[in-house]
């Protein structure tokens, strides 16, 4: 019997190694797997590369991981917060964290490519800009493009709305964001889900992440994101 529901955070994070590349879902305050980030902090892995859209804000989530010195490098599109100065800013100014800026769509597509077995693809995005300096380029069908490579994670941290024991997932409104893409792109995909439901409770036509992409699910009914 397939049962991906794990009892606690220690089990959820078992085996994460130092130096891991960690894909962290969420956009703004919505769909952030903060409980899993906390679990990763507890677990103790260091020297992490974090791939996320933002660099965290406030004191929770990614900021806590950075505050504790666990993050060597951040790969993201927008390391800036609406809510004022961040711990990332502090570390960045002090030269204590590496940063790789990737256009948001290229970031999403590089992970989609990793999940979909596409080792590399051409895209017009970023051609002729600082962010693609040194990348292979060519004109295809009249448009200059750059070559971008698949971006894999060792671990993906995903926030879902509902999960079953096969690991099938649904999301809520804009909570979907990067989560389903990241779920496909990592060797180990761990999910925190607001709801854990019986097998068959999710509509087969409306499952966004089929269970094949999911390794472990922890039930974390934390309620709504902060407004």
């Amino acid at each position: 019997m397939i049962d991906k529901i794990v009892a606690g955070m220690a089990e959820a994070m078992a085996g994460v190694a130092d130096g891991a590349v960690v894909l962290v879902g969420g956009f703004g305050a919505v769909g952030q797997p903060d409980a899993l980030i906390e679990g990763l902090l507890e677990q103790g892995a260091r020297d992490l590369t974090i791939v996320a859209n933002n660099a965290g804000g406030g004191e929770g989530g990614l900021s806590r991981l950075m505050r504790h010195g666990r993050v060597r490098k951040l790969v993201c599109s927008f390391p800036r917060s609406n809510t004022g100065p961040t711990i990332f800013d502090e570390l960045y100014r002090a030269g204590k964290i590496e940063l790789e800026i990737v256009p948001q769509g290229t970031l999403a597509e590089r992970m989609r490519a990793a999940g979909a077995g596409i080792p590399a693809f051409f895209t017009p995005t970023g051609y002729g800009t600082q962010l693609t300096e040194g990348k292979e380029s060519r004109e295809i069908a009249g448009r200059p493009c750059v070559l971008e490579h698949a971006l894999f994670g060792d671990l993906a941290l995903v926030e879902a709305w509902a999960a079953d024991r096969w690991g099938n997932l649904t999301y809520r409104q804009s909570g979907r964001n990067f989560n389903p893409v990241m779920a496909t792109a990592a060797r180990l995909t761990v999910v925190q889900s607001q709801h854990v439901v019986a097998l068959g409770a999710l509509d087969p036509e409306a499952i966004v992440t089929p269970g094949i992409y999911v390794d472990r699910v922890v039930h974390v009914p934390y309620g709504d994101p902060q407004i």
């Binding site: 919505v30 599109s77 800026i101 256009p103 948001q104 995005t125 970023g126 804009s174 994101p225």
Partner: protein, 215 residues
């Protein structure tokens, strides 16, 4: 001679909104572009797209009706119009990159007469650079309109021959809305489509660093 009065940001947004036809799918960047949505009458069905996986965004809800799970790319609370849909980030940018949006409106630091746009970095080192979805949007939408103040606060022109700031995308801007007027980018460069009341071409030209051609 009557003094001309540059448009306020809201008036710039309203001016641009007039040019968006019924039925278009549109992505509005953060900043002034976001204001545009407020000036599109609801009976005109414009499909607003948000990078984080929404098509058919509606206006901001009143505080008592906020849906905590529903934000736009600027991380502001929004609503979903009847007929809207959700999707994930890769599908969202496939929509952008695949040329399915009729229009993207971006703020800018500079727009050049060859259609180049610089809107993501000023080259300073004080803070980390942040690009978000700007490069994908600029390269992907069917057409790109820029909206910005005509000059910087200290009077430096933003309509330029060539951008001095780091580029967002090359040769993509079709039209620029500023607080002084509306300017198309053509093979010949900037062409004035409209100037605010009381402003004459030589005055607009004096505040620009590229040639403005009469329509």
């Amino acid at each position: 001679m009557q003094e001309s009065k540059p448009l306020a940001r809201t008036a710039m947004a309203a001016r641009l909104a007039r040019d968006i036809p019924d039925g278009w799918a549109v992505n509005l960047g953060i900043g002034i572009p976001t204001l545009v949505a407020d000036y599109v009458p609801v009976e005109r069905e414009v499909l607003f797209h948000s990078e984080n996986g929404i098509l058919g965004m509606g206006p901001a809800p009143p505080p008592e009706a906020i849906e905590p799970w529903l934000i736009n790319a600027g991380k502001q609370h929004v609503t979903l119009r009847t007929g809207g849909s959700y999707f994930h980030h890769a599908d969202s940018f496939a929509m952008i990159r695949g040329g399915h949006l009729d229009l993207c409106v971006l703020g800018a630091f500079e727009v050049a007469e060859n259609g180049d746009i610089a809107n993501w970095a000023t080259g300073g080192n004080e803070t980390a650079p942040a690009v978000g979805g700007a490069m994908d949007l600029a390269a992907g939408a069917k057409q790109l309109w820029a909206i910005m103040e005509h000059t910087t606060k200290d009077g430096r022109a933003r309509l330029v021959r060539r951008c001095s700031y780091p580029l967002t995308a090359l040769g993509v801007v079709r039209r620029v809305y500023t607080n002084l007027g509306v300017f198309d980018i053509t093979e010949r460069g900037f062409v004035v489509r409209e100037l605010i009341e009381g402003l004459r071409l030589p005055e607009a030209q004096a505040r620009s660093a590229a040639t403005l051609l009469a329509d």
